[in-house]
C-alpha cells in the first residue's frame, strides 16, 4: 500500500471529468421533472447524443459542432417522447422506457461506421495566470470547456427556477397543472420546452463521454449513466446544487476507489466498488431530511378537458 502514489491534484481533476456527464444529464432531467414530466428515456437520449456528437465532430473536425449536434440529437429524440406523452397522452413510464430501448438500438445503427475512429480533441482551456496557480490551477482551471458549461448550467437552472418568472411558471406547471392551466399558462407548451431542454442536456452528457471522457464510439457506451442520473435527481430532492454535489460525490468516489485499488489499499475491493453508490445515497438522503418533496403533478398526464 502506498498512498503517496495517488496524486491528489490529478485525482481531483479527474473527479470533475468523471462527474460531468452525470451532472449534465441530471440537470436536464431535473428541469423536466420540475415541469411535472417523468422521462425515463435519459439513457436513450444520452447514447443518441453520444453518437450524433461523435459523428458530427469526426465529419467536421470540430468538437464544438459535435456538441451542438449532440444537444440537437438528444432533443430530437425527446420529440418522440413529446409526441407520445404530450400529444397522444401515453403513459410516461412506458414511453420513457421505450425511448431508452429505441435510443440504444438506433445509436448502434448510426454508429456502425464510427467504431475505432479517433475524434478530434477539444483541448483544455488555459487561461493565463489563474490556470498557472499551483495546485488550484490544474484542479479547477485546466479543463475542457464543456465541464464549465455543466457548472454554469447548474447555476443558471438554479437561478432561473428560484428567481425568475419563467421558473415560477415552470414550477407551477409541475406542482398543479390544472391550476396553471386555469391561470392561462400553456401547460403542454411549457412541458414540451422542458422535455426538449432535458433531451439536449442528456445529449450533451452523452457526447461528453464519447468525445472527452473515453474518447471513442462504442455501442452502449453510456452503460447506465442515464439511470444513475435519474436516481440522482430524486436523491437530490430536485435541487440543482444538490444534483451537482451528488454528481461530484459519485464521480469523485468512483475515481477515488479506482485510485485506492491501484495503490493497493487494504480495503476489500467489494466495498470499494460499491462505495460510490452507498456514499452518494447516504449523503443525499441525510441532506433531504428537510422534507422537500417531488413536484405534485410528476408523471401525471394533463389534458385541458379535465
Amino acid at each position: 500500500m502506498d498512498l503517496g502514489e495517488i496524486n491528489p491534484v490529478l485525482l481531483l481533476a479527474s473527479l470533475m471529468v468523471a462527474a460531468t456527464p452525470l451532472l449534465l444529464a441530471a440537470i436536464g432531467e431535473l428541469v423536466v421533472e420540475k415541469a411535472g414530466v417523468l422521462n425515463l428515456g435519459v439513457e436513450g437520449m444520452m447514447i443518441v447524443g453520444a453518437i450524433s456528437g461523435f459523428a458530427i465532430s469526426v465529419e467536421t473536425g470540430s468538437p464544438w459542432l459535435g456538441f451542438i449536434a449532440a444537444a440537437i440529437g438528444g432533443a430530437v429524440l425527446s420529440l418522440l417522447f413529446v409526441l407520445l406523452t404530450q400529444v397522444a397522452l401515453a403513459n410516461q413510464v412506458a414511453s420513457g422506457l421505450a425511448l431508452t430501448l429505441f435510443g440504444l438500438g438506433f445509436s448502434a445503427l448510426l454508429g456502425q461506421s464510427y467504431v475505432g475512429v479517433k475524434p478530434p480533441s477539444m483541448g483544455d482551456i488555459h487561461i493565463p495566470v489563474i490556470s498557472d496557480i499551483p495546485v488550484i490551477g490544474p484542479i479547477l482551471f485546466q479543463h475542457d470547456p464543456i465541464l464549465y458549461v455543466g457548472i454554469a448550467l447548474t447555476a443558471t437552472v438554479w437561478a432561473v427556477l428560484k428567481y425568475t418568472r419563467v421558473g415560477l411558471i415552470l414550477r407551477a406547471v409541475g406542482e398543479n397543472h390544472d391550476a396553471a392551466h386555469a391561470l392561462g399558462y400553456k401547460v403542454i407548451k411549457i412541458r414540451i420546452m422542458a422535455i426538449l431542454f432535458g433531451g439536449a442536456c442528456a445529449g450533451l452528457g452523452g457526447a461528453y463521454i464519447s468525445l472527452i471522457r473515453v474518447p471513442q464510439w462504442t455501442e452502449g457506451m453510456t452503460a447506465g449513466v442515464g439511470w444513475i442520473a435519474l436516481a440522482l435527481v430524486v436523491f437530490a430532492s430536485w435541487k440543482p446544487w444538490r444534483a451537482l454535489l451528488g454528481a461530484y460525490l459519485f464521480g469523485g468516489i468512483t475515481v477515488l476507489q479506482l485510485n485506492l485499488q491501484a495503490a493497493g489499499v487494504a480495503i476489500p475491493v467489494e466495498y470499494l466498488a460499491m462505495s460510490p453508490y452507498i456514499i452518494t445515497i447516504l449523503v443525499l438522503v441525510i441532506l433531504s431530511a428537510d422534507k422537500s418533496s417531488a413536484p405534485a403533478s410528476l408523471g401525471r398526464i394533463f389534458h385541458a378537458s379535465h
Partner: protein, 357 residues
C-alpha cells in the same frame, strides 16, 4: 371422448408438422454479455455466429440476444430461445453458468454450450480457450518494454479465467524484468467504456506505462492513446484500429471453427457433452500481429515463445513457481495441471494485494 381424441391427434399432427419444419433448419441461439459492436469479446463471438451462417447457409438459422446481464435475466432469455425452437444455444459469459444449467434441465432436448465455465450436464458442454498462453506472450513484451517498471492490469471479475491471465502475464514479465510491479484494478464489469477508460487513466497516472485489460471494450486503448507513451494489447479481438501504437499486439479469440463443428454435430446427431479447452496449438487463441513499435529482438523472442507453445514444448506455468504466500506450487520443470488452472484462485509469488473473494 371422440372429440378429445380428435383434438389430441390434431395436436400431434401439428407437433409433427412443426418438428418436421424444425428439422429442415437447425436453429442456433447465442446469448451475449455485451453489444456485438463492443470491438472485443462479444464482437468475436458474433463473428463466430456469422461464420456458422456462412458455412451452412440455408440449413441453419441463428438468433442472438445482446447485452444480457449475468443472472436471472439470462435465464429468461435462454428459456425464450429454447421455447422458440433453438436446437443449440451458446451462452458466452462466465456468469451464465448456473442459468445455463438450470435452463438445460428444463429442456433436455436442447443442447447447450457454456463458454468459460466448468459445470457440465448431459446436454451442457463447456468450452474455453487457453487465453493464458496469449497472456504469457503479452507479459514477456510488457516486461521488456516497460520503462517505469509499473504494469497496469484492468481485471473484470475475480474469477479463475481472469486470475490465470494475471498470473501468466506476471510470471513472464517478472522473468525478463525482476523489478516489474503489477497494479491491478477490479472494474467489476465486463463492459463499461467510461469506467474502463477511467481505470486505465488512473493506472497511467500512478505510473503504469503498459496497460493490460481483461474487459471487453476498446476504451482503455483510447485512454492510452490520449496519454501518449503507454502501450496496450488488444483483448479478445485484434483491436487493430489502435495499432501500431498504443496497441502493440493482441490476443484474438477464434471461436468460428468450434461453433461450426458443434453445429455440425447437432445436425449429424453426434453431439455429446465435451469439455473443450483449446489454445494456440488448436488455433482457438491467436496472437495478433506484433507491431513495429516493438523492437525486433523482443518481437522475435515473443514469436519463439508462441511457436514453442504451439508445438506443445512450453507450458506458461512451468515450475519452479511459488504461490503468493510463499508456499510451493510447482517444482522445477513441473507444469500446472488443468484442474488447478481451471479453478485457480491464488496469485503467484510477487504479486501484491489480495484477490477479492
Amino acid at each position: 371422448m371422440k372429440f378429445t381424441s380428435l383434438l389430441a391427434s390434431a395436436a400431434m399432427a401439428l407437433g409433427l408438422a412443426t418438428s418436421a419444419m424444425a428439422e429442415d433448419k437447425t436453429k442456433v441461439g447465442f446469448v451475449f454479455v455485451g453489444p456485438v459492436g463492443d470491438g472485443g469479446w462479444t464482437y468475436e463471438h458474433n463473428k463466430g455466429r456469422l461464420a456458422v451462417e456462412e458455412e451452412f447457409g440455408d440449413k441453419v438459422e441463428t438468433v442472438f440476444v445482446e447485452s444480457v446481464p449475468e443472472g436471472p435475466d439470462a435465464e429468461r432469455v435462454m428459456t425464450q430461445m429454447a421455447l422458440e425452437g433453438a436446437d443449440l444455444i451458446f451462452t458466452t459469459s462466465f456468469g451464465y453458468m448456473d442459468p445455463t444449467i438450470n435452463v438445460a434441465k428444463k429442456f433436455p432436448n436442447v443442447k447447450f454450450e457454456h463458454a468459460t465455465g466448468y459445470k457440465t450436464a448431459d446436454n451442457v458442454s463447456v468450452y474455453s480457450a487457453r487465453f493464458y498462453e496469449g497472456r504469457a506472450v503479452q507479459g514477456h513484451i510488457a516486461g521488456k518494454m516497460t520503462k517505469s517498471n509499473v504494469i497496469g492490469y484492468i481485471g473484470s471479475y475475480p474469477i479463475p479465467e481472469v486470475i490465470r491471465g494475471i498470473n501468466s502475464a506476471y510470471v513472464h514479465a517478472k522473468k525478463v524484468n525482476p523489478d516489474v510491479e503489477f497494479k491491478i484494478i477490479w472494474a467489476y464489469t465486463w463492459f463499461d467504456p467510461a469506467k474502463e477508460a477511467d481505470a486505465a487513466t488512473v493506472l497511467i497516472e500512478q505510473g503504469a506505462d503498459v496497460i493490460l485489460q481483461h474487459t471487453d471494450s476498446t476504451a482503455p486503448q483510447a485512454a492510452a492513446q490520449e496519454a501518449g507513451n503507454v502501450i496496450t494489447f488488444g483483448q479478445a479481438s485484434d483491436m487493430s484500429e489502435y495499432a501500431p501504437f498504443p496497441r502493440v499486439s493482441s490476443i484474438i479469440d477464434n471461436w468460428a471453427p468450434y461453433y461450426i463443428a458443434r453445429t455440425q454435430a447437432v445436425m449429424d446427431g453426434s453431439w455429446e457433452t465435451v469439455n473443450t479447452w483449446d489454445g494456440i496449438k488448436e488455433g482457438m487463441v491467436e496472437i495478433g500481429e506484433i507491431s513495429d513499435s516493438v523492437p525486433a529482438d523482443i518481437k522475435e523472442e515473443a514469436l519463439a515463445m508462441k511457436a514453442a507453445m504451439a508445438a506443445g514444448e512450453y507450458h506458461p506455468f512451468t515450475g519452479p513457481l511459488k504461490k503468493q504466500d510463499g508456499s510451493d506450487w510447482l517444482a522445477e520443470g513441473e507444469t500446472a495441471d488443468d484442474g488447478t488452472l481451471a479453478g485457480m484462485n491464488f496469485y503467484v509469488e510477487g504479486l501484491q494485494g489480495e484477490i477479492p473473494q
